[in-house]
C-alpha cells in the first residue's frame, strides 16, 4: 500500500506530503496536516460555538487560521451584525493574525490568493464550498463544514478521503469573449451536477496553458458545482507570475505522474465552445447564450468569488464603455476585493460602470446567495456571473437566475434580455 513507486496524481502527492508519507491510495481515509483553515461570518458562528465546546485552549497556528466576514458584511441586519461580532471577538481572543475587517475585507476566495496566503502544494480547508478556488494555484483545497473547521482550527489536522481524479484535457483556441466561466459551465453541462462527486477534477491541456489566472480561478471555483472535491491546475509560468509579488513563504510544486491511471478522461475542444449560460435551476443547464435571446431580465450582477476579479471587470468595462444599460435593468457590479476595487478605479472602469447606469458596491458575497445588495422579488429574472442558480438562490423562491460570464452579463445589461456582446457593440 505504501509503495512510493506507484504513479500518483497531484492531489495524492499533496495529501501524502501532508501526512508524512510518500504515497496515499485512492479511497483511503487519512488524517493530514492542513496549511490554511478558513471561515466566514455564516459558517464560523457554528464553528466558534463548537470550538468552545471542544475546550481548545488555542488555535493550532495563529498565522494559519483565516477569518473573513464577507457574506452578510458590511452587516446587513442586526442578526448578521451579531455573527460578525462573534468573529471579531474570536479573532481577538485567540490572536488570529489573518482577520480581515470591513475595509480590508474582500470576498474570501479572491482575497486569500491576492494576499499570498494560499500557495501551490498547500492542503487547505475552508468552511465555504467554494474553497476549491485555490486549485487554480496548484493547491489541494476544498470546502468543509463548520465542525471540520473547528477541529482543524484546534488541531491543524483533518480527515480526508483520498479522491479519484477525473482529467479534463482542453485543446483548441477560445472564441472571442469566451473565458474560464464558459469552459466550466460547458464542462458541468457535460458531466452534470454530480458528475465529479467525491472526485478531484484536474484541468489540463494546451488551451488551459493560455488561460489567464483569473479564468483559472473561475474554473476551480466551480468544481464544487459538479460535486468535485478539488479542481486543480498544474503550476506554470502564469501561476509563477501571479505569485511572484504575493507569496509570503516558499512553496512546493507537484505534478501528476504521466503514467497515472485516471478515473475518467474527457477531451474538450474549446474551438467548439460558444458563450455559455446555465438556465434555472441547475448550474449544469448549460446552453449557448445566443439561443436564449428571448429571455427578458430584470437584474444583472457582475461579481462574486467566481467572477469578481479585475479580468472580469475589464471585460465588462470593454462592453459597457460609452453605453447605457437598459432602462428596465438594475446592474450591480461588485469588485471582489479592495485592491481590485482600487485597480478598477485607476483603470477607469468604475467611471465607465457608473456612467452606463450600473451601481458599484463594496466587496460582499451579498446578492449571490440572496443575502443583501440585490435580492430578487417574485417572478424576477437575473443574469449573474455567480456560481449557483438553485431555486430561491438570489431571493424569492419564484425568481430565476441565469449564470454567465462577464461578457454575456454586461451585454445583457445593455440589451435588457440575454444577449451576446456582438449584439450591443
Amino acid at each position: 500500500m505504501n509503495n512510493k513507486n506507484n504513479p500518483q496524481t497531484i492531489v495524492q502527492k499533496i495529501i501524502a506530503s501532508h501526512c508524512g508519507r510518500d504515497y496515499v491510495e485512492e479511497g483511503e481515509i487519512v488524517n493530514a496536516d492542513v496549511d490554511i483553515v478558513l471561515g466566514n461570518d455564516i459558517t464560523l458562528p457554528i464553528a466558534i460555538k463548537e470550538f468552545k465546546k471542544l475546550g481548545a485552549s488555542s488555535v493550532f497556528n495563529k498565522e494559519k487560521v483565516v477569518v473573513v466576514p464577507d457574506h452578510f458584511a458590511p452587516n446587513k441586519d442586526i442578526k448578521s451584525a451579531q455573527q460578525c461580532k462573534m468573529l471579531r471577538e474570536f479573532a481577538r481572543e485567540f490572536d488570529i493574525k489573518n482577520y480581515f475587517e470591513v475595509g480590508k475585507m474582500g470576498i474570501e476566495h479572491a482575497l486569500l490568493p491576492e494576499m499570498g496566503l494560499v500557495l501551490p502544494g498547500d492542503l487547505i480547508v475552508g468552511a465555504d464550498s467554494h474553497t476549491c478556488t485555490y486549485g487554480a494555484l496548484g493547491a489541494a483545497s476544498t470546502g468543509v463544514g463548520s465542525t471540520d473547521v473547528t477541529v482543524a482550527m484546534a488541531t491543524g489536522k483533518l480527515w480526508f478521503l483520498v479522491p479519484k481524479t477525473i482529467k479534463f484535457i482542453y485543446s483548441g483556441s477560445l472564441k472571442k469573449w469566451v473565458t474560464g466561466k464558459d469552459l466550466i459551465l460547458y464542462t458541468i453541462g457535460l458531466i452534470g451536477v454530480d458528475g465529479a462527486l467525491y472526485r478531484s477534477m484536474e484541468f489540463t491541456g494546451p488551451a488551459v496553458k493560455k488561460l489567464s489566472i483569473d479564468s483559472r480561478f473561475t474554473m476551480s471555483n466551480m468544481a464544487i458545482e459538479a460535486g468535485g472535491k478539488f479542481g486543480i491546475f498544474e503550476v506554470d509560468e502564469v501561476t509563477g507570475e501571479y505569485l511572484r509579488s504575493r507569496k509570503k513563504r516558499d512553496y512546493r510544486i507537484f505534478t501528476s505522474d504521466s503514467d497515472v491511471e485516471y478515473h475518467e478522461i474527457y477531451n474538450i475542444d474549446c474551438s467548439d465552445i460558444d458563450l455559455q449560460v446555465a438556465t434555472p435551476h441547475l448550474p449544469s443547464n448549460a446552453k449557448n447564450a445566443d439561443e436564449l435571446s428571448d429571455v427578458k431580465i430584470d437584474q444583472v450582477v457582475i461579481g462574486s468569488c467566481t467572477n469578481g476579479r479585475i479580468g472580469d471587470l475589464e471585460i465588462a468595462a470593454e462592453i459597457l464603455k460609452g453605453k447605457e444599460i437598459n432602462k428596465d435593468i438594475r446592474a450591480i457590479i461588485i469588485p471582489a476585493t479592495q485592491n481590485i476595487y482600487l485597480e478598477a478605479m485607476r483603470k477607469g472602469y468604475l467611471e465607465i460602470f457608473i456612467k452606463s447606469g450600473c451601481v458599484v458596491s463594496t466587496p460582499t458575497c451579498g446578492p449571490c446567495l440572496g443575502g443583501h445588495m440585490g435580492v430578487l422579488a417574485e417572478g424576477e429574472k437575473a443574469v449573474s456571473t455567480t456560481n449557483r442558480n438553485f431555486i430561491g438562490r438570489m431571493g424569492h423562491p419564484k425568481s430565476e437566475v441565469y449564470l454567465s460570464g462577464p461578457a454575456v452579463a454586461a451585454a445583457s445589461a445593455i440589451a435588457g434580455r440575454i444577449a451576446v456582446p456582438e449584439e450591443v457593440i
Binding site: I29, K79, T131, T147, L369, I391, R393
Partner: protein
C-alpha cells in the same frame, strides 16, 4: 440503534439552498433554523415531520453550500436518518460529524415510497420497508467513520482521541 419511522420522499439534487435558504443564515440557532427547513421545496414539511422522521431522496442530496446549517436544521426538525442514492460530499461529512445517520443505498432510495414505514438497524446494516415487506442491506461505513459515529460526532471523537496539548486542562 434501531430507527422505526415513516418516510418523507424527495427527488434528485435536493440542494442546501432549499434545505435552508441563505436568508435565514444570519443565525446559528438550530431551533430557529428548523422553523425554515425545506421551506422553499415543501411547505408541508413541518407538518409531515411530526410523524415521519426519515428522509428518502435521490442522487446528490445536499449539493451546494458547505453550510452545516443544512443538516443541523434537518436534525433539529426531528429527522433521525436520511437515505439517498448518493450524497454531496460536504453534506455527507457534515452529517457524519454531527452524528446524523446518512445512508447511501440506490436500491432503497428507488424502492421506498413516500409514507412507507421503515425499520433501520445501523448495527446490522439493514433497512426494512415494513409497508412493502422488503429488506435492503447497507454497506458498512469505513472503520474511521464508524468510530466517529460511535463517539457521537467529530467533536466528541476529537476530544476522546486527543488527550493532548490542544485541550484546556
Amino acid at each position: 440503534m434501531i430507527i422505526r419511522e415513516k418516510a418523507i420522499k424527495y427527488g434528485n439534487n435536493v440542494n442546501t439552498d432549499v434545505i435552508i435558504p441563505a436568508r435565514y443564515l444570519n443565525t446559528a440557532d438550530e431551533k430557529e433554523l428548523a422553523l425554515h427547513c425545506f421551506e422553499d421545496l415543501d411547505k408541508e414539511f413541518k407538518q409531515k415531520v411530526k410523524n415521519r422522521k426519515v428522509i428518502i431522496a435521490g442522487s446528490n442530496f445536499g449539493c451546494g453550500s458547505s453550510r452545516e446549517h443544512a443538516p443541523l436544521s434537518i436534525k433539529a426538525s426531528g429527522v433521525r436518518a436520511i437515505i439517498a442514492a448518493s450524497f454531496a460530499r460536504i453534506f455527507f461529512r457534515n452529517s457524519i460529524n454531527m452524528g446524523l445517520p446518512v445512508i447511501t443505498s440506490k436500491q432503497a432510495s428507488d424502492f421506498i415510497q413516500d409514507g412507507d414505514e421503515l425499520e433501520i438497524d445501523l448495527e446490522k446494516g439493514k433497512i426494512v420497508d415494513i409497508t412493502r415487506d422488503k429488506t435492503f442491506n447497507i454497506n458498512p461505513f469505513p472503520e474511521f467513520i464508524q468510530k466517529v459515529i460511535k463517539s457521537g460526532g467529530y467533536i466528541n471523537f476529537t476530544r476522546e482521541n486527543m488527550k493532548n496539548r490542544f485541550l484546556k486542562k
